[in-house]
């Protein structure tokens, strides 16, 4: 049974999606989607445990051996990302019922859940596959379903945001497709491991260089790396709250994973970092992004938008870690990829709860919520402390490794800017806290109660995870370090 887990991981949500559509308008679609998400989480946990215990898993789809067939190849890095996606998928789905009922019309809910499952399928597929073209296919599955999900937002700007995302996302994935095509042209293979073996022989050709450029730009667009992030704030702001929570915590992270995978296990660190010196571009974009986007977050008046800008800044941290191409840097980047997923998921779920109760994610809507929704707001504060990087939260762990890596490689500016941006994070988190705790509710507004338990529990689980993994770092850092060592060693 365990041998088939890799394909089951993908099949569960993939088959769940059409079933959701078939169940029609009832509440059944929700329970089906939830069951799929939980099952998917279970499988992801098993996969990670197996990988950590016995080493990488290779699964040949349909029994066709690579490089002819498609192969799923699961190592420490992607089993970690799989777990993140599955975990957030499950938590978000747990919280989804009430929020979706209030934001999505009844006749579209089963489509909504189908799209959520498809999006999960795509993200899981990108992560699990060992075939470059397969990455593109899953990328498009995830992207198309997320355009649909964003367009379901109840404000009309959601449509425009979705349209913009569609254009930019398509350009991004087409760029990646071009890059994969050019690689195929030079090597005649699409299997990642095979590509890695054959590329060094042709590494100096113009075709490979061009493919690298197309790939980097395409993937930067997908993961919203500054300055290609402009599609993201609108998309996250106007999407249904549950969708924001899911996409913010997983979609960009998976794109970052794709970048790590291509950089380290296809092009190889020797080509990407030593020959081309991609560190310089990545590092400077990341640093500028961290500072400018953190500053931009301060000026937002919508909490979803504020969190979206902060997400772009946090992507900067991850990319910064990767750009060091050292063990500590990569560990920091990978661990932050996971940690930030937890934190942002939790924060967006809090916003979802507020939208559910108050009906808006405007800063003004947060007035007095410290009193009206004490537990929810407390969770926000804890999550916010993580964003700042306060010790005993996961945010601190990631920053620690990033700073350590920056010092090791002598990037003093990076150290200073990362520390500076922590202060900016204090301010943008504070703005929400200020409205929640220090501003009275409007007298004529309706009384507001605590968020429903079904939303509080998954949020609390995520927040708890940010603290548990902030104190006991053995597991997260251990896996991330294993992945980093694996990648730097040039393995798949």
């Amino acid at each position: 049974m365990i041998a088939e887990h890799p394909v089951i991981q993908i099949l569960i949500p993939l088959l769940g999606a059409p079933l959701c559509v078939l169940t029609g308008r009832g509440v059944l679609a929700y329970w089906l989607a939830l069951a799929c998400s939980l099952a998917s989480l279970f499988v992801a946990t098993r996969l990670l445990a197996t990988v950590m215990a016995t080493g990488p898993i290779v699964y040949e789809l349909g029994g066709w051996a690579a490089p002819w067939g498609i192969e799923y190849r699961i190592g420490p890095l992607n089993s970690f990302v799989l777990l993140l996606v599955a975990l957030l998928g499950a938590m978000v789905m747990l919280a989804a019922k009430k929020s979706v009922e209030s934001e999505i019309p009844g006749d579209r809910r089963h489509f909504f859940y189908a799209a959520m499952l498809l999006c999960q399928t795509g993200l899981l597929g990108i992560t699990i596959t060992g075939d470059a073209f397969n990455v593109f296919v899953f990328l498009e599955i995830a992207a198309l379903s997320s355009y649909v999900l964003i367009a379901m937002g109840h404000q009309r700007r959601a449509l425009y945001a979705s349209y913009q995302y569609l254009i930019m996302g398509t350009i991004g994935s087409t760029f990646i497709l071009i890059s994969i095509g050019l690689l195929y042209q030079m090597t005649g293979t699409l299997n990642m491991a095979d590509l890695a073996a054959r590329l060094p022989a042709v590494g100096d050709t113009r075709t490979v260089l061009v493919s690298f450029a197309f790939f980097m730009v395409g993937v930067s667009l997908k993961m919203a790396l500054f300055p290609l992030h402009m599609w993201l704030p609108n998309a996250y702001t106007y999407a249904p709250s549950i969708v924001s929570a899911f996409l913010a915590s997983t979609a960009t992270k998976v794109a970052v994973y794709v970048m790590i995978r291509f950089l380290f296990s296809i092009y190889g660190p020797a080509f990407a970092f030593d020959r081309i010196g991609v560190s310089q571009i990545l590092g400077s974009l990341a640093l500028v992004g961290i500072v400018i986007m953190s500053a931009a977050a301060i000026f937002q008046n919508n909490v979803k938008r504020l969190l979206a800008y902060s997400s772009v800044a946090q992507i900067g941290y991850i990319v910064l870690g990767i750009s060091f191409a050292s063990e500590n840097g990569l560990t920091g980047g990978i661990v932050h990829l996971f940690n930030h997923g937890l934190m942002k998921g939790a924060l967006f779920l809090v916003v979802a709860a507020v939208v559910y109760r108050v009906g808006s994610s405007d800063l003004n809507a947060f007035r007095g919520l410290g009193r009206a929704m004490p537990v929810t707001m407390f969770l926000f504060v804890l999550g916010g402390l993580g964003m700042i990087g306060v010790p005993l939260t996961v945010g601190f762990i990631s920053k620690w490794y990033l700073i350590l890596a920056a010092i090791e490689t002598g990037h003093w500016l990076a150290v200073a800017l990362v520390l500076l941006s922590s202060l900016l994070a204090v301010i943008y988190v504070w703005r929400v806290v200020e409205f929640a705790y220090f501003q009275p509710r409007d007298r004529d507004s309706d009384p507001v109660g605590e968020a429903p338990l079904s939303m509080l529990v998954p949020t609390a689980i995520l927040v708890l995870a940010t603290i548990v993994f902030g104190i006991n770092t053995e597991w997260t850092v251990g896996v991330a370090r294993a992945a980093a060592v694996f990648l730097l060693g040039g393995h798949a």
């Binding site: 008046n301 007035r367 409205f435």
Partner: protein
């Protein structure tokens, strides 16, 4: 003096000018005594300047006068109205710049 407006109120010790004078006289006498004590008591001396007769008394007096007069001059330079900062901090980006007209008295200013 407010206490004069309250004829029924109990008279406190310091309300009597003669008591205040008593205190002051006590102070003068003590100071004189301490100053002259240098005659009778041989102080242990580490620094040459301590040998000056009545050094500590003079130093204490002079430094206090200089302190107060200097502070008085400093005040002319530094004094601002009571609400100086309150009026200045509106329109801070961290607080409520734009788009949030209801929050006219929000804090959260960021340096």
């Amino acid at each position: 003096m407010m206490s004069e407006n309250r004829p029924n109120e109990k008279q406190y010790w310091f309300d009597q000018p003669k008591n205040v004078k008593l205190i002051l006289r006590g102070l003068y006498v003590t100071c004189a005594g301490l100053f002259l004590a240098d005659f009778f008591y041989h102080r242990h001396v580490d620094e040459p300047m301590e040998k000056i007769f009545g050094f500590y008394g003079i130093y204490g007096f002079v430094s206090c006068v200089i302190l107060v007069l200097a502070a008085k001059e400093m005040r002319k330079l530094l004094i601002r109205k009571d609400d100086y900062y309150d009026s200045a901090e509106d329109g801070m980006p961290g607080g409520n710049a734009g788009g949030n007209p209801g929050g006219s008295k929000s804090g959260g200013d960021a340096p």
